[in-house]
Every structure is written in structure tokens, then in C-alpha cells.
């Protein structure tokens, strides 16, 4: 039995020393200036044209998708939507730095990462219309995407639950000998949950190759960051867990990309977690159920509108000679048309037949659920008008 010494690294003092906020500076990585030029001393990460353009175009696409779906919700075509406007770089820039074998466990505002992985407009729509083409079978509210082939874990509403799960998933990847990590996204609000504490501590102690990616966008619904925590953001917690930490400008796609790339290398090579805090701002309302005018000013929003990540990226591409204004206009128009077309198609597709209601509770349908389904089916046949979505197909 080896002797343990939990004081091995502890120094001593003879005065009452208070350790407090401000003792440590956690600077934020910035590479791109708002005008698309590089900061002095900054080097752009290695990025080929195709990838750079894909990052930009995915952000543009998501901006369009968000706008259109908010409109669709206003028209009453979908029940709920949640936009990522202004935060696109955080999700897209980080997803671009991953391998497609890496698992993504997201919160709900990372549609950019999913689009980057190749989720199609139809797939987005099928989920939002809860129709039978949704591989998640339409059981959850809009925006709870999930796609196994793309290694994108189905989103769960309870906040923070995916954080310790990501540690476990990453541990499994390591044990299976996969050359892959897990990335776990969450907001600065969700970081207040007990699951955050458990997840980060366990990942550190159990050496899990996972990137914890916090989007600190200043708000959790109406609650501003300064009523959420009193420390220096979420990054300052990394130290307490012994987790390597990077803070990054979340509106700077190149900085996000560079930080995530580095974090992935560390996680994989050293088999350990890395925490990234991306400083950004939720320009959108929390969701279509929310109205932010009740808790923040237009002026505050405008300051952040000026930090638009998409324009920043476009300007850099332009300087590289990788950007074509006309093509971009076309891309936006095409995206709009695509979204509209897919939306029209998806909203007409049926929900799953009623048999589906008892599937996937267990691997098989147990006796009591068979009984409940049988009763339900006879009932629907008796009252077809009360259950218009399924009655026509009950046998």
C-alpha cells in the first residue's frame, strides 16, 4: 500500500491569507478583429479553404434557419423554437475542430454543430414537426434533435444532465480504444446545476477525454450572469477541479476553432478533460416563449450585434480571397428557399401511427403496455374524431 499524502503540494504561511477573486487572470483568446484582420501577435489556425468556407456558410445557414423558424412559430406552424443568433461561432467553430467520430452532447442551442455535421434541412424540419420521419419519432418538443449516424446525442430538456453523461461516454470511448472524444455543450446557467460539479470532477479524477464547452452568453432566460454566479465566469472553476481550461471569444470563429482544436489534442493525448468557456451573447430571445424586452435594453443588445461572428468570418475570408459576395447572397436565398420547401413538405407528413406510443419504453413491449395499447386502439376506433392524427390508421 502506497502512503498517501494529501498535503504533498501544499505550501505554508503564517498569516491569515485570503484567497480571493482577482488573484488569477483568465484572459480570453481572440484571433480575429471585427474587421476580419488578425490581432497583433495572433496567428490564424491552419484552415484550408473548404473548411473555412464551410464554417462561414454553416453559420449563415443557421442564421437563416433561425429566422425562418421563428417566423414559422409566429405563424403557428410549429409550437416552439429556440434560436442561436449571435452565438453561431461557438457551436460551428468548435464542431469544425472535431473529428466526425467524436460524440456531441449538446444543450439545445448548438444547431450550428449539428448542421456542420451534415444534418439536412429536412431532418431539422422532421424533428420540429414531430413527424414519423424524425428518427426520434416526434416524441420531444421542437429543437430536441438527435442523430445516431452523425454521433449527435438526442437532446434532453433537463439542464446539465448531459454533463456527467459526457464524462461517462468519454470514459467508454477510451476503454473501447476509440480515437475519439466527447464534446459537451452547456450554458453558463446550466453550469449552476449539481450535475456540472459531478461531471467535471469525475472527468478529472477518472481521466475522461471530454471537452466541456460552456457558452457563457450572459443570460439564462431572464437571469443575468451576475445573478448566476459571483466568480470569474465558468473558466475560474476549471482550476478547482484540476481541469485544464481555455477561455475564448465566442464570437470569434477562428479563436473558437483554435481553442477547440488544442483542447481536443490535449483531451486525446493526455486522456483528460478540458474546459472551454466561450464568451458570447444570446442576441435572440431565450426561445419563442420569451420576450427579452422585459429584462434587458436594446442598447445592450446593440453592443453585441456589432460583434457579429458571421461578418467577422466573412471579412477574414474576403481578405484570404475565399469570399464571393454574390455567391453568399445566393447561398442565403437558397437556404431560405430550402427551409421553406422542407417546411412545407414536413408539415404534411403524418406523425407516427399509434402503435408507436408504447415502443421504446423498453426494448420489447411488455404485457401491460400491450394491454394499454389494445385498449387505446379500440378507444380511438370508437372516437376517431377526437384523435385525428392517428385514427385513420388504427387497425
Amino acid at each position: 500500500m502506497k502512503d498517501r499524502n494529501h498535503l504533498a503540494k501544499v505550501s505554508t504561511t503564517h498569516e491569515v491569507n485570503i484567497i480571493e477573486d482577482g488573484l488569477i487572470d483568465i484572459p480570453m483568446l481572440q484571433i480575429l478583429k471585427p474587421d476580419g484582420s488578425l490581432h497583433e501577435n495572433a496567428t490564424a489556425p491552419e484552415l484550408d479553404e473548404a473548411t473555412a468556407v464551410k464554417i462561414h456558410d454553416t453559420m449563415e445557414y443557421i442564421r437563416v434557419l433561425d429566422e425562418r423558424m421563428i417566423a414559422a412559430q409566429r405563424q403557428g406552424r410549429i409550437s416552439f423554437y429556440l434560436a442561436s443568433t449571435g452565438e453561431e461561432a461557438a457551436a460551428v467553430g468548435s464542431a469544425a475542430a472535431l473529428s466526425e467520430h467524436d460524440m456531441i452532447m449538446s444543450q439545445y442551442r448548438e444547431q450550428g454543430a449539428l448542421a456542420y455535421r451534415g444534418y439536412t434541412t429536412s431532418q431539422f424540419m422532421n424533428q420540429m414537426f414531430s413527424n414519423k420521419e424524425d428518427p426520434n419519432k416526434g416524441r420531444q418538443m421542437p429543437i430536441h434533435y438527435g442523430d445516431k449516424p452523425l454521433n449527435f446525442m438526442t437532446i434532453s430538456s433537463p439542464l446539465g444532465t448531459q454533463i456527467p453523461q459526457a464524462s461517462g461516454y468519454a470514459y467508454g470511448q477510451k476503454m473501447a480504444g476509440n480515437e475519439a472524444i466527447t464534446i459537451c455543450y452547456f450554458g453558463e446557467g446550466a453550469a449552476s446545476e449539481g450535475d456540472f460539479h459531478a461531471g467535471l470532477n469525475m472527468a478529472a479524477v477518472l481521466h475522461c477525454p471530454v471537452i466541456f464547452f460552456c457558452r457563457n452568453n450572459g443570460y439564462a432566460i431572464s437571469t443575468p450572469a451576475d445573478e448566476q454566479f459571483a466568480g470569474d465566469g465558468i473558466a475560474s472553476r476549471g482550476l478547482g477541479y484540476g481541469v485544464k481550461t481555455i477561455r475564448v471569444d465566442g464570437n470569434d470563429p477562428l479563436a473558437v476553432y483554435a481553442a477547440t482544436k488544442r483542447a481536443r489534442e490535449i483531451a486525446l493525448e493526455e486522456s483528460c478533460p478540458v474546459l472551454i468557456e466561450a464568451m458570447t451573447y444570446r442576441l435572440a430571445a431565450h426561445s419563442t416563449s420569451d420576450d427579452p424586452t422585459g429584462y434587458r435594453s436594446r442598447e445592450e443588445e446593440d453592443k453585441w450585434r456589432a460583434k457579429d461572428p458571421i461578418q467577422r468570418m466573412a471579412k477574414w475570408l474576403e481578405k484570404k480571397g475565399w469570399y464571393d459576395e454574390a455567391a453568399n447572397t445566393k447561398l442565403i436565398e437558397k437556404s431560405r428557399a430550402d427551409v421553406l420547401a422542407a417546411l412545407k413538405k414536413s408539415e404534411k407528413i403524418d406523425v407516427n401511427p399509434i402503435e408507436d406510443i408504447v415502443e421504446d419504453v423498453y426494448d420489447d413491449v411488455p404485457w401491460h403496455l400491450k394491454e394499454q395499447l389494445d385498449n387505446l386502439k379500440s378507444h380511438i376506433k370508437q372516437y376517431p374524431k377526437a384523435y385525428p392524427k392517428t385514427a385513420g390508421r388504427v387497425k
Partner: protein, 325 residues
């Protein structure tokens, strides 16, 4: 009297008690300046200051842990959990702490001043995580009370009674009814009793028992049955724990039949406790088995929400089956 919807009645109850008792503090996620995502706490921060109405960090276990401590100190916390579906991170604080605080200390310390408010229930296209009815999970935890109002009048009177009751109360608000309709609510202070069921409609052929938003469903089903000449007694349980078995048993001894309706999944739902108790107390009076019309034993599915719900049609059919057993 004023016309209020259920949310306004809640808000009004909170104002009433906060004006009277300085020790009352209202908090939870987005509860402060914003007034809560459903606006149940609107303007309380303006009226009573940030110290008495405030946002908490996003941690349900923390909210209830904090509330337990605050209550044990003698303050009167009214803690909000944003959705009933998100109360489970606080399960340990409620079931192991709130419920056992008084008992374990021999009555030296208690959290009797605590009230936990949370919206519950489906029918709002909320899917798995904005629809659950968690009452039965808590009904197995001796030491707490569980209360559910069915309309604005009940909401104000029961909430005031819950806040002032000397025991911790889990107050479940049927969110489908929040803005569904307005009704007359006294502007003055009043209380409705905890632990007492309310006979909503008298009848002689069958007792229909439910709580919260499902009372409307029972009423609709009773109206349908009335067309067939069936006379239904409707009881709103109002308190799930401790519950008023006497009123229910008396009714069943009269009607000989009982149907219980709730939204939560059937297995292990609170209807099972009622059925188990009433078959014992009323064995010789029962003319047919006690019927349960409940949610399916599945998570709450968005696309099949209508099919999942224990609605008036299912209830009406069950009434008929029970009568023609």
C-alpha cells in the same frame, strides 16, 4: 371580488401574504425582476424589494436546500421550481430533508413554513419534459403535504393556507389552466382547508375522483354520462397528502362505484393508493371494480399527446364499463 385567472390568483395570494408577513420570501429561477416564466411572481420584486423576491442560480437542489435552511431558521420561503419536470434534482432535499426534518430532530427543528410551488401537467404540447404530473413520487414521502388547486378561487385560498400551514407543502399548479379562464376571486384574505376533499357535484351512481386540471375532464365526462341518465358525484381531492379518505369513502358507500382519473402514468400513480384504500374501506359497498383512467405507462409523448391523455372520452367509456360491470 375580482376576475382573475389562476396565475393572477397565485400572484394575488403572494401579495396578500407578503404584505402581512415580512418573513415571507419568494425565489426561484427567473422569479425576480422578470416575475417567473409564467409571470406568477410579477411585480413582487418591485413591491417587496430584491431581498424578498429574487432570482436564484439555476439549481433546483440548491433552491430547495436553501429553502429548507431558510425555513428551519424561521423565515417563510415560497420556492418556485420552474416546471414540475425539473423538480427531480431536488428530490433528495425534499424526500430526505424537507419530509424528515421535524421527525429526525424530535420536533426541535422543522421546515414547516416552507412552500414549494411548481407548475405541472400536460396538454400544452410540452412533450416529455414540460408535461409531467409528479404528485405520486412525493406522496410516498411522509412529512410533506401535497396540494393541487383546480381553479383561481381554490388557488388563492389553498396557497394562502399552504404558506401558513405549519408543515412543508408541495403546491402543484395545473399550468394548462394558468390562463385558461378567469373567475371570481375575493380580493380579501381567505383560506381553504388542507386535507379536505371538495364535493364538486353530488350524484348517486358513481363517484368520479380527481384533482387539478382533470376536474374539468371529469365534469365533461359526467355531462356525457348525464345524457345517458347516469348521475355522477364529482370529488376534487385537493390534497393528495394527507388525503381525505373519509369523504371519498362516504361517497363510495353511497354510489357503490369509484373512478379515479389522473394524468400521470397509471402504474404507481396516486390512483393506486386511493383504490387500495377504498377497496379496503368500502369492500362490501363496491358494485364493480374501482376504475383508473390515467396516463399511459410511457414517458409523455409529444406527437401522441391527445392519445396519451386521460380525456373525457376515455373517462366516459370507463364510467359506462363500471356501471355495466
Amino acid at each position: 371580488m375580482a376576475k382573475m385567472n389562476l396565475l393572477q390568483a397565485i400572484n394575488n395570494a403572494l401579495i396578500t401574504v407578503m404584505e402581512q408577513d415580512e418573513r415571507v420570501m419568494v425565489f426561484g429561477e427567473d422569479v425576480g425582476h422578470f416575475g417567473g416564466v409564467f409571470r406568477a411572481t410579477s411585480h413582487l420584486q418591485e413591491k417587496f424589494g430584491r431581498a424578498r423576491c429574487f432570482n436564484t442560480p439555476l439549481t433546483e437542489q440548491g433552491i430547495i436546500g436553501f429553502a429548507n435552511g431558510l425555513a428551519s431558521q424561521g423565515s417563510v420561503p415560497v420556492a418556485e421550481i420552474q416546471f414540475g419536470d425539473y423538480i427531480f434534482p431536488a428530490f433528495d432535499q425534499i424526500v430526505n430533508e424537507t419530509a424528515k426534518f421535524r421527525y429526525r430532530s424530535g420536533g426541535q427543528f422543522d421546515v414547516g413554513t416552507l412552500t414549494i410551488r411548481t407548475p405541472y401537467g400536460g396538454g400544452i404540447a410540452g412533450g416529455l419534459y414540460h408535461s409531467q404530473s409528479p404528485e405520486a413520487f412525493f406522496a410516498h414521502a411522509p412529512g410533506i403535504k401535497i396540494v393541487v388547486p383546480r381553479n383561481p378561487y381554490q388557488a388563492k385560498g389553498l396557497l394562502l393556507a399552504s404558506i401558513r400551514d405549519k408543515n412543508p407543502v408541495l403546491f402543484l399548479e395545473p399550468k394548462r389552466l394558468y390562463r385558461a379562464s378567469v373567475s371570481d376571486v375575493p380580493e380579501e384574505d381567505y383560506e381553504l382547508p388542507l386535507g379536505k376533499a371538495d364535493v364538486v357535484q353530488e350524484g348517486s351512481d358513481i363517484t368520479l375522483l380527481g384533482w387539478g386540471a382533470q376536474i374539468e375532464i371529469l365534469q365533461k365526462a359526467a355531462d356525457m354520462a348525464h345524457e345517458d341518465g347516469v348521475s355522477c358525484e364529482i370529488i376534487d381531492l385537493r390534497s393528495i397528502l394527507p388525503w381525505d379518505a373519509q369523504t371519498v369513502a362516504e361517497s363510495v358507500m353511497k354510489t357503490g362505484r369509484l373512478l379515479i382519473n389522473h394524468e400521470a402514468p397509471q402504474t404507481g400513480g396516486f390512483a393506486s393508493e386511493i383504490a387500495a384504500t377504498i377497496q379496503d374501506k368500502c369492500f362490501l359497498y363496491l358494485e364493480s371494480p374501482i376504475a383508473r383512467v390515467c396516463g399511459l405507462d410511457t414517458p409523455y409523448p409529444l406527437s401522441h399527446e391527445k392519445e396519451y391523455m386521460p380525456d373525457q372520452f376515455k373517462t366516459y367509456e370507463a364510467i359506462k364499463r363500471t356501471l355495466h360491470y
